[in-house]
């Protein structure tokens, strides 16, 4: 058996934590090898070791049978190892070409030869079916396209082994499909791939073998064909995992949110949401399905007051709130789990306590006469921490910055739910989380519905939308294409509608 890469007994420690504890991973030539583990299990760390960003304390690495020392990414590159990071390493105001050639710029005299590089990139893009415009600016292209730029970056550097760290977390279903195709193309051209993902379905779809780690320890390597999703999941978390969201039939009551003919401009000052109408009733979850950037953010920001509207109306329990301030809307019962938890949802320098009262700090009992009541705040935080299982080093006094993403998210969800809203808007509530956390958060959302709240769910995960929602609104190019019952539809149909093809129109 020929291995391109062998990572043998790798141990990597960080101050206070052993991120990788004696882990072995062997990559066969021409295979797609999945790496599976919970948040913080040590996957990214292991790959960073392979890519030369960290030096392991113990263990050795062999590439094509020869033992090597990978001291920095340049060495990795020269060994034919390329990596697409979880957080893209792209300069947003550079063009695609500039980003790809960065560090390896071809020159003509003193001048960087952008033209010939762009041509080469175009060719590569064709060979692998990547469809990237070399002259586009990163900030103008979709996340999926950005990811393809990252892949191109490795190919431009002649990578034989491509590491993909959670490549699908940020992609739409269509984009995921495309990525799978691209992965197959890469294999056909003789590359080998390591892919990190939390999504077992994807592993089943593309991977040949799968290595599972948990809390830094090697659990095992399995043949994907012969292992079920449930088996892999329990290897990963150490217990049985429930995939199907358990929920009863919904029992919708009065209309809580009514959006009519709403038009909203986006950041580029053109209409990002056009003439949208939508109702959310008490006791139901309405999901928005759509490819990122098709008007979801505009819709949410218009409802919450973060963005001004051009036309139309927004009624909350019959009251027009278009002219209301953000604060008034929060008071009248809108809660919002924001899409970007670190940018919008939290003040990272504040403690959990302080973050727990982010919207209500100026209300009784948390403050009186302009003075904060620390005891009341602490009590409130304690309740959220306990009820929502928020884990952190120093309890309520932990500075949020030092918490893991999953726990940050739980704190936000707890805070929003504790505000006892009429309408809960949940944007990407489980982005980047492992299955255990996802399971938990889904349960809480359904609980909200069952207690008679209106829930508006925005998610790029079709699975999530399908499983949680009672009704689903599909957006495309800023328009609501259709609103369907979740029971009466399926992933394929949704996918088509998200691409702009109305029911009954296509196929």
């Amino acid at each position: 058996m020929e291995y391109v890469v062998e990572m043998l007994n790798i141990t990597k420690e960080f101050p206070g934590i052993i991120a990788n504890d004696d882990i072995t991973l062997r990559l066969k030539k021409g295979e797609v090898h999945a790496l599976l583990g919970e948040n913080g299990a040590g996957k990214s760390t292991l790959m960073s070791v392979l890519f030369g960003m960290y030096t392991p304390e113990k263990g050795s690495i062999k590439v094509r049978g020869n033992e090597v020392t990978i001291g920095n990414p340049n060495v990795a590159n020269s060994l034919g190892i390329g990596m697409v990071h979880q957080h893209f390493k792209l300069v947003s105001n550079f063009t695609v070409t500039e980003n790809i050639i960065l560090g390896l710029e071809p020159k003509k005299g003193f001048v960087v030869d952008v033209k010939s590089a762009a041509k080469k990139i175009e060719e590569l893009s064709k060979t692998y079916g990547l469809n990237v415009d070399p002259y586009a600016k990163i900030e103008d292209i979709s996340v999926g396209m950005q990811q393809r730029v990252e892949i191109l970056k490795t190919l431009y550097r002649n990578a034989e082994v491509v590491i993909l760290d959670e490549p699908t977390a940020v992609l739409t279903p269509q984009e995921i499909q495309e990525l799978m195709k691209i992965i197959k193309n890469l294999i056909n051209e003789g590359k080998s791939i390591i892919i990190i993902t939390h999504k077992l379905k994807e592993i089943k779809a593309v991977a040949d073998r799968c290595t599972v780690i948990r809390r830094g320890k090697y659990i095992g390597t399995v043949d994907v064909k012969n292992t079920s999703e449930a088996e892999m999941a329990s290897m990963m978390v150490g217990r049985q995992v429930n995939f199907k969201v358990e929920k009863t039939e919904s029992n919708p009551g009065e209309v809580v949110l009514e959006v009519s003919n709403l038009s909203v401009k986006n950041n580029k000052k053109v209409l990002g949401l056009k003439n949208a109408s939508l109702q959310v009733r008490a006791g139901e979850i309405v999901g928005i399905a759509g490819v990122e950037g098709n008007g979801q953010s505009e819709l949410v920001e218009a409802i919450t007051g973060l963005r001004s509207i051009e036309e139309g109306s927004i009624l909350l329990k019959g009251m027009d709130i278009c002219k209301h301030s953000i604060r008034d809307r929060i008071r009248s019962g809108i809660a919002h789990i924001p899409e970007d938890r670190q940018k919008r949802g939290l003040v990272l320098e504040y403690t959990i306590e302080e973050n727990c009262v982010l919207e209500v700090y100026n209300q009784k009992p948390f403050s009186k006469f302009g003075l904060l009541d620390k005891d009341a705040i602490a009590k409130h935080a304690k309740k959220i921490i306990e009820e929502f299982d928020v884990r952190s080093g120093e309890g309520a006094k932990t500075v949020v910055e030092s918490m893991s993403g999953g726990n940050q998210q739980k704190a936000i969800i707890g805070r929003e739910i504790e505000n006892n809203p009429e309408l809960l808007i949940a944007c990407q509530p489980t982005r980047g989380l492992d299955v255990g956390s996802i399971e938990y958060i889904h349960k809480r959302l359904v609980e909200q519905r069952d207690s008679g709240k209106a829930v508006l769910l925005i998610s790029l995960e079709l699975d999530e939308v399908l499983n949680l929602s009672d009704r689903i609104a599909i957006v495309n190019a800023g328009e609501i294409i259709d609103i369907v019952n979740a029971k009466d539809t399926n992933e394929d149909e949704l996918g088509l509608m998200m691409a702009g093809i109305k029911r009954g129109e296509g196929a």
């Binding site: 217990r239 809307r329 982010l358 904060l372």
Partner: protein, 361 residues
């Protein structure tokens, strides 16, 4: 906070060591030099009084800069705000005839309001037009400089051409009792104002709704907006509070430490306030101590120069080096953090191990 104190102390220590090397390079004895430096600031009650008096405007400008920093703004304009605040107080003191007990508080309030108004402009420009406050406050400094220059020259010209008329002692913060207590030092009621402001600002930052909002805006504008906090209002308010503090520095300087205003100079306390704030880790208590430290250095350096042949320029270099090292506090902090946090993470892992049962097949 305790950690902050240690960091500043280490910075000061490193600065002094570097200063010692420099003093040796000039062929002098650093131990002797530092002895006189500290003696010059603390040797007797008069000198202690002078140290405190010198520190008074620094406490206020330091608070001004620190407060703005805490809310995400860089106020380089403390000098101008101080000048305008001091000038307005002086103008009142020279023209309004009231009993001392009414006049002086009136002047203090006017100084604070004037400084706040002067800072309102960059605050507004920042909030409404996204004009970088560093540029606008530099411009406001020069506008203040020339306004005071011509207003004093044309309306309040005193004994000499470069100075305003003098305030009567009854229109200043001077109190003979304090001065006598410190054997004739120029310490005055300003120090009490400064201490009160340290407490007030500390209270605002830590305990009030206002402080919560201001810090939230300073740390993360998007999150503040999301939570319904008016970002623009808070930016303006923060600049105004910062300006008000600088304005107070003006009244304690020009109607306390001195009784007149000089034209043709921007008060150095405005810029020193930046250093004071940073050495004080942007906390009110830190500012208080670092201002006193600066006050001591600037009172003591003359004595050091007088008693040794260390040139006066060297003491300025030493102060600068201390500030340089205080800049590296992040590194010092990191070292300390590393020592404390590795423990923290271990605890966290333990906790999570307890929480998740092991059920592997």
């Amino acid at each position: 906070m305790k950690k902050g104190g240690i960091i500043s102390l280490i910075a000061v220590l490193l600065g002094l060591i570097a200063g010692a090397i420099l003093i040796m390079a000039t062929g002098n004895d650093p131990v002797e030099g530092f002895t006189y430096l500290f003696q010059g600031g603390l040797k007797d009650t008069e000198r202690i009084g002078n140290t405190l008096a010198t520190a008074t405007p620094l406490i206020l400008t330091g608070l001004s800069v620190a407060f703005a920093f805490r809310t995400g703004l860089f106020n380089i304009g403390a000098a101008g705000q101080m000048l305008i605040g001091g000038f307005c107080a002086l103008a009142i003191g020279l023209t309004v005839h009231l009993p001392s007990l009414l006049l002086v508080p009136f002047m203090v309030v006017v100084a604070m309001v004037a400084g706040a108004i002067w800072a309102f402009i960059p605050g507004l420009l920042k909030a409404k037009f996204n004009v970088h406050e560093v540029v606008s406050t530099i411009m406001m400094n020069w506008i203040a400089y020339w306004m005071v220059y011509y207003l004093v020259k044309n309306h309040f010209k005193g004994d000499t051409e470069t100075e305003s008329r003098m305030l009567a002692d009854s229109a200043t913060l001077k109190i003979p009792f304090l001065s006598d207590l410190f054997s004739g030092s120029f310490i005055n009621f300003g120090i009490v104002i400064a201490i009160i402001m340290v407490i007030v600002i500390s209270f605002i930052i830590k305990r009030t709704v206002l402080g919560y909002e201001l810090k939230a805006v300073g740390h993360n504008r998007s999150a503040a907006e999301y939570a319904g906090i008016s970002v623009n209002r808070n930016v303006i308010l923060s600049m105004m509070i910062s300006g008000g503090l600088a304005g107070l520095a003006g009244v304690v300087q020009y109607a306390g430490n001195s009784s007149l205003i000089q034209i043709g100079v921007l008060p150095t306390q405005g810029f020193d306030g930046i250093a004071v704030a940073l050495l004080g880790m942007n906390t009110p208590i830190g500012v208080f101590f670092s201002a006193i430290f600066f006050g001591m250095l600037s009172t003591g350096k003359g004595f050091m120069s007088a008693m040794t042949s260390i040139p006066p320029e060297i003491s300025d270099v030493i102060i600068a080096i201390i500030i340089y090292f205080s800049a590296t506090s992040l590194l010092i902090r990191k070292v300390i953090n590393k020592l404390t946090t590795s423990r923290k993470y271990k605890k966290e892992i333990l906790n999570s191990n307890v929480n998740v049962g092991e059920k592997v097949e």
